[in-house]
């Protein structure tokens, strides 16, 4: 009898352990199978989309509205869209982690459409996360600002949600006081300006006792890269080869060095430095110009308007005389994913809807940014802040390097900017060229 009871107990224990282990071991087992399409219980084709904003934000609400409109319009066609909001976070980036976690599971677990920051396109495309939309979209991409469409290897992987550019914000009162006339400013705004003209303006501001320009050298992270990469390009140089696989001979080319020498000159001549308080331009008159992205426009209009009663505006990026002007572009885009669902028709419908003129208007109205489509002409005045940024986008916009190892490029770029503080351009660029090249190789497979 006793023996029997023991056996029963042992059996129960064994069973429990086996349950734990087998449940763990056979829970999924690698990538899920491919499926044709995803349907809900009413037989509607289900298409899912994930965006990088919280649902409570203005931008999030705009996305929600677009999806609701889509559902209303496609009800008869039995297509239903579902939107998920996953905010980006510091630390463990939940947005990024969600994409990589779900992608690795396959079997339609990943959302059909995701939003992503433009420079990440190449990395996602290369690792197979993004779906090649070239043939599915056809000539649909013609209406977008050409530089804003996310391409990799000549194929289309992403459509821009909206666009942003950056420029040198100025406080008119400060510039005028330093002897820079309105006519001069308007000339720069419409015709662009050269490194020498930029330095001359800085010299005047310096002579007037101001910090000439806040280039956000210490901003760090993607902000630093986004704001400063056009200056490296502005002497006609490149960072990496067109296929994104070679840095040697590009990052350390004479032209690129000249671009960085311009930044270094600004530091050495005392026009800018690493210690400027980021709010100094917005809250006082000690700084003449401020390099920032388009998102500062609403800030100045609302939060800091008291400081700019004398007028303000944006100056474009300067360039080397003889070279073409280059300006920052690239905001967030939508792309279709390779999530193990074979039929992409519904996803293509949704992505077209989300980037249609109406949707783009809804979204840009919520965010205050610029629509990435030439069909939405907002009739900006050429010297207005938005006008300067829009003209830059259309005429001189240049996307950040398209490469699988973009994150490493961004880190190296930050290191270069930090390195300029103490070392010569020559030394810093040579050092980081080798560094970047090995990082590219490391990611190349």
């Amino acid at each position: 009898m006793k023996g029997k009871r023991f056996l029963v107990k042992a059996a129960v224990l064994m069973l429990a352990v086996c349950c734990i282990v087998s449940f763990a071991a056979c829970g999924g087992g690698g990538k899920g199978e491919e499926v044709e399409s995803r349907t809900d219980k009413y037989g509607n084709t289900l298409v899912t989309i994930m965006v990088h904003k919280d649902s409570s934000t203005k931008e999030g609400k705009a996305y929600q509205k677009c999806v609701d409109d889509f559902n209303a319009a496609y009800k008869s066609k039995n297509i239903k869209a579902q939107i998920t909001f996953v905010a980006q976070t510091s630390g463990v980036d939940q947005y990024e982690a969600t994409i990589s976690n779900l992608y690795r599971q396959g079997g339609g677990k990943l959302y059909d459409i995701i939003s992503f920051d433009a420079p990440k396109c190449a990395g996602y495309a290369k690792s197979g996360i993004l779906y090649d939309m070239t043939s599915a979209l056809g000539d649909y991409t013609d209406n977008f600002i050409s530089e804003s469409v996310n391409r990799y290897d000549g194929k289309v992987y992403g459509l821009p949600i909206q666009e942003s550019s950056a420029g040198f914000y100025y406080n008119k009162v400060v510039l005028n006081a330093a002897g820079i006339t309105d006519g001069e400013i308007a000339g720069y705004q419409t015709n662009g300006w050269t490194f020498e003209q930029f330095k001359a303006v800085c010299e005047k501001l310096k002579a007037a006792g101001k910090t000439a320009v806040d280039m956000q050298l210490a901003a760090g992270g993607e902000t630093c890269t986004y704001l400063l990469y056009p200056l490296g390009n502005a002497a006609g140089g490149e960072y990496v080869s067109a296929d994104g696989k070679t840095a040697d001979g590009y990052l350390n080319s004479a032209q690129t060095k000249e671009g960085f020498q311009f930044i270094k000159d600004c530091i050495d001549n005392g026009y800018t430095n690493y210690q400027i308080d980021g709010k100094a331009f917005l809250t006082g008159d000690s700084v003449g110009m401020y390099l920032s992205s388009g998102w500062t426009i609403p800030d100045i209009k609302e939060q800091y308007k008291d400081n700019f009663t004398g007028g303000w505006g944006i100056l474009p990026y300067p360039h080397k005389s003889g070279s073409d002007a280059v300006s920052a572009t690239g905001s967030w885009s939508f792309g279709i994913t390779n999530n193990g669902i074979r039929n992409k028709d519904a996803a293509v419908e949704l992505i077209k809807w989300m980037t249609s003129d109406e949707s783009a208007t809804t979204i840009t109205n919520a965010t205050g940014m610029i629509a990435a489509k030439s069909t939405i002409n907002k009739n900006y005045e050429a010297t207005s802040p938005e006008g300067v940024l829009y003209n830059q986008l259309v005429n001189s916009g240049k996307a950040r390097p398209s490469m699988g190892a973009y994150a490493d490029f961004s880190t190296e770029f930050n290191l270069i900017i930090t390195g300029l503080r103490t070392d010569s351009v020559e030394k810093v660029l040579n050092e980081h060229t080798t560094s970047l090249q090995t990082k590219i190789n490391r990611n190349d497979r």
């Binding site: 224990l13 994150a407 290191l415 490391r442």
Partner: protein, 323 residues
């Protein structure tokens, strides 16, 4: 991966088998007998623990050893190449050109060098301070221990608010009384790491204080009395009685605090995000593996860390034991 897991399992099973066989042979020699049912029960009782420990402790350790010599990429788990020491060459090159790893090592070194003496010293002072029978000692102890029970996540976020560069930041609003401009403490390249040190010591030292306290109560009172009769001052008493009495406690605490400090990651991660001036070794390792998906390279960093930590721990042990 499955093959790897199976081979590890077979190796472990073989090792166990030999040990068990030797035991059985020995038992036969000495005419002892294992009762079969007892053995069965014992193995059954061990099974859950062994299964879990194998999957979640042994396998990761073995994998991290193995991956360090491969080019394992998270997105291509079925395409692994053995690349020998290339990962380590890559790491040393990165140190050479003062890349991220260089910063990570420097920052971790700063953290360890500052936090180990600070935290242990603080804990010892607090333990000595509370080592008397007066009213209110308990309240003080509770106060000192409070930060320990709050999680690292909460303390990190709390200190982010304390050091915030705006009006509601505790420190800046305190400084603004003296007319100082708000400072973004955690963005300062030179000093950000020191704030993390300070926060970590503040958070952790209550824990070590308790261990020191239990060590102090084990020192016999009559030693102090005898020393008093010999006319020893309190400093001499501390040097000749308290410290020797605490030696094993001190050893334990030094090693645990040291190992903990080498692994620092959550604090910089939550307080400053991935910035060059605060990135630490663990954080770099995590970022390589989970962020950049380069599991192989990340494992190489982990292996280097483990080896270095292990060596220093052994040295500490030897040094403190011989003393």
């Amino acid at each position: 991966m499955l093959i790897g897991a199976l081979s590890v399992f077979i190796a472990m099973a073989a090792a166990f088998g030999t040990v068990a066989a030797v035991d059985v042979v020995k038992a036969k020699k000495y005419k002892e007998r294992y009762r079969i049912r007892e053995c069965g029960t014992a193995y059954l009782m061990l099974l859950p623990a062994v299964a879990l420990a194998f999957i979640f402790i042994v396998l990761p350790i073995v994998y991290s050893l193995g991956y360090a010599f491969t080019d394992f990429h998270m997105y291509y788990p079925n395409d692994i190449k053995f690349i020998g020491l290339d990962n380590f060459k890559e790491l040393f090159r990165e140190i050479g050109v003062k890349g991220e790893l260089y910063h990570a090592i420097i920052n971790t070194a700063i953290f360890v060098v500052c936090v180990v003496p600070l935290q242990i010293g603080l804990a010892l002072v607090l333990a000595l301070f509370t080592n008397r029978k007066k009213k209110g000692v308990k309240i003080f102890k509770v106060c000192f221990f409070t930060p320990v029970v709050i999680s690292l996540t909460v303390t990190s976020f709390l200190w982010v608010q304390i050091l915030a560069p705006n009006a509601s930041g505790l420190l800046n609003s305190f400084l603004s009384v003296f007319g100082a401009e708000p400072i973004d403490f955690l963005a300062q390249e030179k000093t950000a790491m020191l704030w993390i040190v300070l926060m970590s010591a503040w958070q952790g030292c209550g824990y070590q204080m308790l261990i020191f306290s239990s060590g102090l109560t084990n020192i016999r009172d009559d030693l102090y009395e005898a020393a008093s009769l010999d006319g020893a001052g309190s400093w001499q008493k501390f040097l000749h009685i308290t410290l020797p009495g605490l030696r094993s406690t001190l050893l334990y605490i030094t090693i645990t605090v040291f190992v903990g400090a080498c692994r620092v990651m959550i604090q910089p991660m939550l307080m400053t995000d991935y910035k060059l001036h605060t990135v630490t070794l663990s954080y770099y390792m995590y970022q390589l593996g989970y962020g950049s998906k380069l599991v192989g390279l990340s494992s190489a960093v982990a292996l280097m860390m483990t080896v270095v930590i292990g060596i220093i721990t052994l040295l500490q042990r030897k040094f403190l034991k011989e003393d």
